[in-house]
Structure formats: C-alpha cells, structure tokens
C-alpha cells in the first residue's frame, strides 16, 4: 500500500522567499506530524495534527512557520521569509492514532536549502 509521500523531494530557495512543503499521509491515519532534522542533529518536533483537534504548534520555531491540514488529510508546511538556518530536511509522519500503538510512519522528507 502507499506510504507517506512528501513533495518536493528537494527545494533550493533564496533567502527571504516563501516555501511550501506538502505531505500526504497514509490513508486513514488521523495523526500527522512535522519534524525537521538539521545536519548531524536529531529530529526536532514542529507541529502535530490529530483529527479535528486544535494542532499542537508548540514546536514551531518562529511565527514564520505555519502549517495546515485540509480535510484531515494532506498537510502543507509553509515557511515565510526563509533564512539560511531554515536549511534542513523536513520530515512528515503519520500514525493511526491510538493511545497504545505509537508507531509513526515517515515520508522520504524534503531537503530544503536556503541560499
């Protein structure tokens, strides 16, 4: 079956431009997560969507970052006025929300380079 997909796989942008990253979770998964991973670093939680509940935005590093999830499925992460420190791999994951089963399935990621 189809896994989590992300697009684009690579994005090079100039400092100050806005970018949109897309995530298609596994069909039926109610939870969706965005993470980023800078070179040599661990995963950094950004935002979490669960069903119709208000998203947990506690990991967003600044107000330049925003995300939405339309129809409980596809999600878009938007970074406005990109900075060089935004360069990282952005990973999306989804899970079939259950308080016992916590496994998250990851997409291939989007490598963002801000020049």
């Amino acid at each position: 079956g189809a896994g989590v997909s992300q697009s684009p796989s690579n994005k090079v942008t100039e400092k100050g431009k806005d970018v949109e990253l897309r995530c298609d979770p596994i069909s039926g998964h109610t939870a969706l997560y965005w993470y980023r991973q800078s070179l040599g670093q661990g995963l950094e939680f950004l935002i979490y969507f669960q069903g119709n509940s208000a998203p947990d935005k506690s990991g967003l590093p600044s107000d330049r970052f925003s995300a939405e999830r339309t129809g409980g499925s596809v999600s878009t992460l938007t970074i406005q006025r990109t900075q060089q420190e935004d360069s990282a791999v952005y990973l999306c994951a989804s899970s079939l929300y259950d308080r016992v089963v916590d496994e998250q399935y990851f997409g291939p990621g989007t490598r963002l380079t801000v020049t």
Binding site: A31, Y33, Y35, Q41, G42, L43, E44, F45, Y48, Q50, S53, D56, V89, L91, S95, Y97, R99, V100, V101, D102, E103, Q104, Y105, F106, G107, P108, G109, R111
Partner: protein, 113 residues
C-alpha cells in the same frame, strides 16, 4: 523537563562486531519506547517496547526495555556494512488529547568492512 538521551553519539566498529546502543529517558507518563533506523532521509521503524513487551528481537537486532533504570538498549550482532546508519530512540507519552514522541539525538553507527 522531559528528555531522551542516547549514547554514544557515534560509534565506529568493524564488520562482524557486536554493538550496543543506549537510550535513557526522563519522561512523565511514559507509554512506549521506539527505535528507528535512519539511513538517508526518512527513519524506518525497528521496534516498539512497552510495559507489556519489554524485549523484542528481529534477526540480528534485539532490544530490551528496563523500566526500573528508565533505559533501553539496542543490540546488533554480527554487524554488516548495511547496518551503518543513525539509530534514533523516541519515547511516547499521551499529552492531554494528543500524543507526543520525544526524540533522542541519535547514535551514528559506522561499520567498517
């Protein structure tokens, strides 16, 4: 503050060696501990350990959860160059009506031929 700490940060061994990776945690309302392998961009799931399943094994990989010591180890026996990767540990806990994974920084494992 909740945290997950992995050690060592990096490890270089020769093919055929056995390695043990460590993960310790301080997380309120612990529910599960997960191990992932990250080779390129996306981590892939290895094991999930909970109070009802504290030991898992798959081929040359095995993992044990020690709830008393608040830690877990990931063992890889007879290592192969294909085992080279970053190994990530994460601890899951419920958070109000949401769910949260707290991630360690990972252990970078390099297997030399």
């Amino acid at each position: 503050e909740d945290k997950v700490v992995q050690s060592p940060l990096s490890l270089v061994v020769h093919e055929g060696d056995t390695v043990t990776l460590n993960c310790s945690y301080e997380v309120t309302n612990f529910r599960s501990l997960l191990w992932y392998k990250q080779e390129k961009k996306a981590p892939t799931f290895l094991f999930m350990l909970t109070s009802s399943g504290i030991e898992k094994k798959s081929g040359r990989l095995s993992s044990i959860l020690d709830k008393k010591e608040l830690s877990s180890i990931l063992n890889i026996t007879a290592t192969q160059t294909g085992d080279s990767a970053i190994y990530l540990c994460a601890v899951g806990r419920p958070l109000a009506s949401n769910y949260q994974l707290i991630w360690g920084a990972g252990t970078k494992l390099i297997i030399k031929p």
